[in-house]
C-alpha cells in the first residue's frame, strides 16, 4: 500500500480518509509529503500516485482539497526540476506543463524518485521499486538526523557505549589499571593525612607545649606523608603513561587498518584532511583522556569524598556554614566556564582563519604578483588580523575579569572558616589545630571540584573524539566480500555491462542504462566527450563504486559476487596521471608483487621501454622517485606505471590514456610499450590516440552517459555519426599540432 520508510511525515488521518473516499478502490502506489507550499512558504502538501492519476492534496483552513490532478496516460514527461535550495515537480500533459508542487532540498531525493516512477507508469504502465538501499539519513528511533556517515544514531546508541568501547582497548592492560587505582587510593590517603598530622602537631604538642619528643616524629611524619604521596603519584603517572599510550597505539593501528579497507566513495564524501585529523589528533585526544583526564577525575572524586568526610568529622557545625561560600564558588565556575570556553573556541577559529589566509596568499604569490593584487591581499590580511586581535583581547580581558572574582569567592570561604571557626573555638567546640586543618582541607577541596564541574565538557570533548574514531571503525567496509563471494582465481576476461545506471550523486546519474559485452582478449576503446561517463565505466569495473541499477558481469558472474582478492589480481590499471609511491623505481614496478624477482622487474621495464632511461640514472633501478613520483618526468612515470602493469600481468587491463603531453619520441616509446601490454588481455581503453582506436576490436561511444554507438573503427566511420565527428576534430587538432612542432 503506502511506501514505508520513504515518508518522514506521517499521513494525517483526515487526508487518508479523504483520499480513500475520493479514490475508492484504487491502489496508492506512492504518497509523499512536501515541505513547501505553492507560494513558497513552509507547509505540508501530499503527493499521491495511483496507476491512473497523480494528484496533490492539501489541508488548508481545515478544508481538504485536491490542488491538482493529472491523468497518468496523458503525461509525456515528468521531472523534478532541481533549483537552488529546493525544486519543483512538473509534468507535461497534452502539450501543457503543470507544476505539481514545490519542495525544499530535503525532499529532492524523494521527488526525483517520484518523477521517475511517474515516467515509468506513463510510458510503460509499470514501475520499478525504489532502491531500498538508500542510506538512512534519519534515525528510525528518535527521528533526528544521523550526524556521521554511519547508520548508527549516536543519541540512541547510549553515551556510555563509546566509553565502554574505549575501555575495550584498555582491557589488555587490566592488571596495570587495577594497580593504578590502588596506588591512587594510597596516594590520596597519604595526601589527606597531612593536614591531620598538622592538627595533631598543633593541638597535642605545640599549643599545650607538651611532649616535645613528639615534635621530631610528627614532623617526619609530615614529610613522609607528603613524600609518599609524591612518590606514589610519580609511579602512578609512569604506569598510566604506559597504559594510555599503548592503548592509543592499538586504536591508531586499528583505525589506520580500517581506513585502508574503506571504499573510495567513503573518501569521496569526506575531506582527506578530516580523516587525517582522525588518525592524528583524535587519537591524541583519546590518549589525553585515558592518560591524563580520567586518572585526574577519579582522583578528584576520591579526594572530594575523602575531604568531605573529614571536614564533617572535624566540625559538622562549621561544615554547615561553609556550604554557602563553597556553593557560591562552584556556581560561579559552572556559569562562567562554559562562556570562557566559547571565547577560546572563537580564538582558535580566528587564528586558523588567519593562518589560512596567509597560507593562501603565500602559496599563490605568483598569481598575486602577476595580477598586481598585493594591496588587496594586504587589506584582506589586515582585516583578518584585526579580527583575530579583537578576539584575543576579548578573551584575555574576560579571563582577567573572571579570575579575580573567582579568587574573591574563594577568599570568602577562608573568612568564614576563621570567623566561625574562631567563634566555635571560643565556645570550646574547636581547637586551633582543628581550624588550621580545616583550612588546609578546604584549600585542597577546590581544585577537584573545579575539575569535576568541568567534567561534562571534558567528557563530551573526549568522547566526541572517541565517537569520531568509532564512526570510522564502524563504517561499512564496502570493500568486504559478500558472504557468498565466489573465488575466481583464473578469469577468462569476458565482461558484460547490463543496464548499468550510476551517479556519484544519486540525483544526477553519469551513466544511464548502459549495456555492452566484451569477449575475453578483445580490446575495446571507449570514446566520448569529457564528462560522458568514460572514467566512470572504468571505476565501476574496478569496483571502486557499486552500480545503482543493473549489473556488471565478469565471466558471467556478478562482480559483487567475486572475491576482492581475485578481482584485484586479475584487473590491472594504467592511469592518465600515473601515481607512484615514494620509493625506488624497482619498488614501484614491483608494487603489485613484492616478492618479484629482479629479472622479472627488468623484463617488465624492458617491455615498457623504460629500461634505458632507468639505466641512464646514476642509481639505476634503485633511484628514489620522490613524493608522488615527482622526481621523474611524465613520460618516465607513464612507462613505469606500464611496467608495473606488465609485472602485475592481469587478465583484464584498464587503460586511461593520457592526452598526449609528451614529445613525439617518448610518445612512440610509450605507444610501443602499450601495444606490448595489451597483447593477450581483455583491454578497455579510454582512447585518445587514433592509433589505439584503429587497433581496437570494438569501439564504444558514450554520449552524456548513454551508449550512443558501438562497432569497429570502420563501421563507425562509415556511419558518419558522433564517432566520425570526434575523429574529425581529433585529426584537425593533431594536424595543427604537427605544424606547431
Amino acid at each position: 500500500m503506502f511506501f514505508n520508510g520513504q515518508t518522514m511525515a506521517k499521513l494525517p488521518e483526515e487526508i487518508k480518509k479523504f483520499v480513500d473516499e475520493k479514490y475508492h478502490g484504487k491502489e496508492i502506489v506512492l504518497s509523499i509529503a512536501t515541505d513547501v507550499l505553492a507560494k513558497g512558504m513552509y507547509g505540508e502538501e501530499w503527493l499521491f500516485l495511483t496507476k491512473e492519476e497523480v494528484f496533490v492534496v492539501k489541508d488548508s483552513d481545515a478544508k481538504i482539497q485536491i490542488v491538482i490532478e493529472v491523468p497518468i496516460k496523458t503525461i509525456t514527461d515528468a521531472r523534478a526540476i532541481n533549483m537552488v535550495g529546493g525544486g519543483a515537480l512538473e509534468v507535461e500533459s497534452e502539450g501543457k506543463p503543470h507544476r505539481l508542487l514545490l519542495y525544499s532540498n530535503a525532499k529532492a531525493h524523494d521527488f526525483t524518485d517520484a518523477a521517475r516512477i511517474i515516467n515509468d507508469l506513463a510510458k510503460k504502465g509499470t514501475y520499478r521499486e525504489l532502491n531500498a538501499e538508500r542510506r538512512r539519513k534519519y534515525c528510525p528511533t528518535c527521528g533526528k538526523p544521523i550526524p556521521g556517515h554511519t547508520d548508527v544514531c549516536p543519541r540512541c546508541l547510549k553515551r556510555h557505549r563509546t566509553f565502554s568501547r574505549l575501555f575495550e582497548f584498555a582491557k589488555p592492560y587490566r592488571t596495570k589499571i587495577l594497580s593504578i587505582f590502588l596506588i591512587m587510593i594510597c596516594a590520596t590517603l597519604a595526601g589527606l593525612s597531612v593536614p591531620y598530622i598538622s592538627k595533631i602537631l598543633i593541638d597535642q604538642v605545640i599549643r599545650p607545649l607538651k611532649d616535645q619528643w613528639r615534635l621530631a616524629p610528627l614532623a617526619l611524619a609530615l614529610l613522609g606523608a607528603n613524600a609518599l604521596q609524591i612518590f606514589l603519584r610519580a609511579v602512578q603517572v609512569r604506569i598510566a603513561a604506559f597504559v594510555g599510550n599503548s592503548a592509543v597505539y592499538d586504536i591508531r593501528r586499528t583505525l589506520y587498518k580500517k581506513l585502508q579497507n574503506l571504499s573510495i566513495s567513503y573518501y569521496d564524501k569526506r575531506h582527506t584532511g578530516a580523516l587525517m585529523t582522525r588518525v592524528n589528533s583524535d587519537t591524541g585526544e583519546v590518549q589525553n583522556f585515558l592518560v591524563d583526564w580520567l586518572p585526574m577525575l577519579l582522583e578528584s572524586a576520591l579526594t572530594i569524598i575523602g575531604i568531605g568526610v573529614l571536614l564533617f568529622v572535624l566540625s559538622w557545625r562549621l561544615t554547615l556554614y561553609i556550604i554557602i561560600p563553597v556553593f557560591i564558588t562552584v556556581w560561579f565556575v559552572r556559569k562562567v566556564y562554559p562562556k570562557l570556553w566559547l571565547y577560546f573556541a572563537r580564538f582558535y577559529d580566528k587564528r586558523s582563519r588567519l593562518s589560512a589566509t596567509v597560507n593562501d596568499t603565500l602559496t599563490g604569490i605568483r598569481v598575486v604578483k602577476a595580477f598586481g593584487q598585493e594591496d588587496k591581499e594586504q587589506k584582506r590580511f589586515e582585516e583578518k588580523s584585526k579580527d583575530f586581535r579583537d578576539t584575543s583581547i576579548l578573551l584575555e580581558q574576560k579571563f582577567a575579569t573572571y579570575n579575580p572574582v573567582l579568587s574573591i569567592t574563594i577568599l570568602f570561604g577562608t573568612v568564614v572558616v576563621w570567623y566561625v571557626g574562631g567563634k566555635l573555638a571560643f565556645a570550646g567546640e574547636m581547637t586551633l589545630g582543628g581550624i588550621v586543618a580545616y583550612s588546609g582541607y578546604l584549600a585542597m577541596f577546590y581544585r577537584p571540584i573545579f575539575l569535576l564541574t568541568d567534567m561534562t565538557r571534558i567528557f563530551t570533548h573526549s568522547l566526541s573524539a572517541g565517537e569520531r574514531i568509532f564512526e570510522v571503525l564502524d563504517a561499512k567496509s564496502e570493500v568486504e566480500d559478500a558472504p557468498d563471494a565466489v573465488s575466481m582465481p583464473d578469469l577468462k576476461g569476458d565482461i558484460e555491462f547490463r543496464n548499468v545506471t550510476f551517479g556519484y550523486n544519486k540525483l544526477r546519474p553519469v551513466l544511464k542504462n548502459v549495456s555492452f559485452k566484451i569477449d575475453a582478449k578483445q580490446s575495446i576503446g571507449i570514446v566520448g566527450r569529457s564528462g560522458s561517463g568514460k572514467s566512470t565505466v572504468i571505476s565501476l569495473l574496478c569496483r571502486l563504486y557499486d552500480v545503482d541499477e543493473g549489473e556488471i558481469l565478469i565471466d558471467g558472474v556478478n562482480i559483487k559476487k567475486i572475491k576482492y582478492v581475485d578481482l584485484r589480481k586479475n584487473i590491472g590499471i594504467v592511469l592518465q596521471e600515473p601515481f607512484l609511491f615514494s620509493g625506488s623505481i624497482a619498488e614501484n614496478i614491483a608494487y603489485s608483487k613484492s616478492e618479484a624477482k629482479m629479472d622479472e622487474i627488468i623484463q617488465a621495464a624492458k617491455a615498457a621501454n623504460a629500461h634505458d632511461f632507468i639505466m641512464s640514472k646514476p642509481d639505476g633501478y634503485d633511484t628514489y622517485v620522490g613524493e608522488r613520483g615527482g622526481r621523474l618526468s611524465l613520460g618516465e612515470r607513464q612507462r613505469i606505471s606500464i611496467a608495473r602493469a606488465l609485472l602485475h600481468d592481469p587478465k583484464i587491463l584498464i587503460l586511461d590514456e593520457a592526452t598526449s603531453s609528451v614529445d613525439t619520441e617518448t610518445e612512440k616509446a610509450i605507444q610501443e610499450a602499450l601495444n606490448r601490454l595489451i597483447k593477450g588481455r581483455t583491454t578497455i581503453a579510454i582512447a585518445h590516440r587514433l592509433s589505439t582506436l584503429r587497433n581496437s576490436d570494438k569501439i564504444i561511444v558514450l554520449d552524456e552517459g548513454e551508449l550512443a554507438e558501438m562497432g569497429s573503427n570502420d563501421e563507425l566511420m562509415g556511419k558518419k555519426g558522433i564517432f566520425y565527428k570526434l575523429i574529425q576534430i581529433q585529426t584537425e587538432f593533431a594536424k595543427s599540432r604537427l605544424i606547431l612542432e
Binding site: G40, P97, R99, A108, K144, P145
Partner: protein
C-alpha cells in the same frame, strides 16, 4: 541533467521590448520572444548573491540558456513581478528573522528559527563550517539536507537571536 555547451562566442541578450512573459497553466512561466513561444522557462540570477537584479539567465527545461536579460528593472512592472516571483521559487533560501534556540548535540547544531517563509527547525553539521560570511554581516547557512538559509544582517536581529547566534559564530 548535463548542460550542453553551445559553442558560441558570446551570450544572447534578450531585449525587453522583444520579449513577453506569461504565467502558463499551473505555475509554469512562459515566454514569447520574436514570435516564438517557449512553454517552460526558468529564470536564474547570474550573480545571485552580489547582484541579483542584473543579468537574469532565462533557461529552458533542458537547462539550455535561451538568453540573458541585462537588468530586471528594464522590464515592465508586471513582467518584473512575474520574474521575481519565479526567482523567489528558484532560490529557495528563506531569510531568518529570528533565532529561537541553537542547541548542540554530537557535533550537530539544531536551529529553531523563524523565517520569512515560516517557522523551521533544521540541523547544521559542525559549528561554523557550514556558515559563510559575506560582507560584514550577511550569513549564509547550509543545513544537513543542503537546504539553505540566509541572515541578511545579523546586527539587525533581535537581541535574543544574537545571543543564540553567538554560540556558533
Amino acid at each position: 541533467m548535463r548542460k550542453k555547451e553551445k559553442n558560441g562566442e558570446s551570450f544572447i541578450i534578450l531585449e525587453p521590448e522583444k520579449i513577453k512573459f506569461e504565467m502558463g497553466g499551473s505555475g509554469v512561466l512562459r515566454m514569447i520572444s520574436e514570435g516564438k513561444t517557449y512553454q517552460r522557462v526558468y529564470p536564474l540570477s547570474v550573480f545571485p548573491i552580489t547582484n541579483p537584479d542584473n543579468f537574469i539567465s532565462i533557461r529552458d527545461v533542458e537547462e539550455d540558456e535561451i538568453g540573458l536579460i541585462k537588468n530586471l528593472k528594464d522590464l515592465a512592472h508586471d513582467q518584473q513581478n512575474l520574474i521575481r516571483s519565479q526567482l523567489r521559487i528558484s532560490y529557495f533560501v528563506p531569510t531568518i528573522k529570528e533565532i529561537f534556540k541553537i542547541k548542540e548535540e554530537f557535533g550537530i547544531y539544531v536551529w529553531h528559527v523563524k523565517t520569512n517563509r515560516g517557522q523551521r527547525t533544521f540541523y547544521v553539521k559542525g559549528r561554523n563550517e557550514n556558515l559563510i560570511l559575506r560582507g560584514n554581516s550577511r550569513l549564509l547557512i547550509t543545513d544537513i539536507e543542503e537546504c539553505r538559509y540566509e541572515i541578511e544582517d545579523f546586527n539587525k536581529l533581535p537581541r535574543r537571536s544574537l545571543m543564540e547566534l553567538d554560540k556558533v559564530l
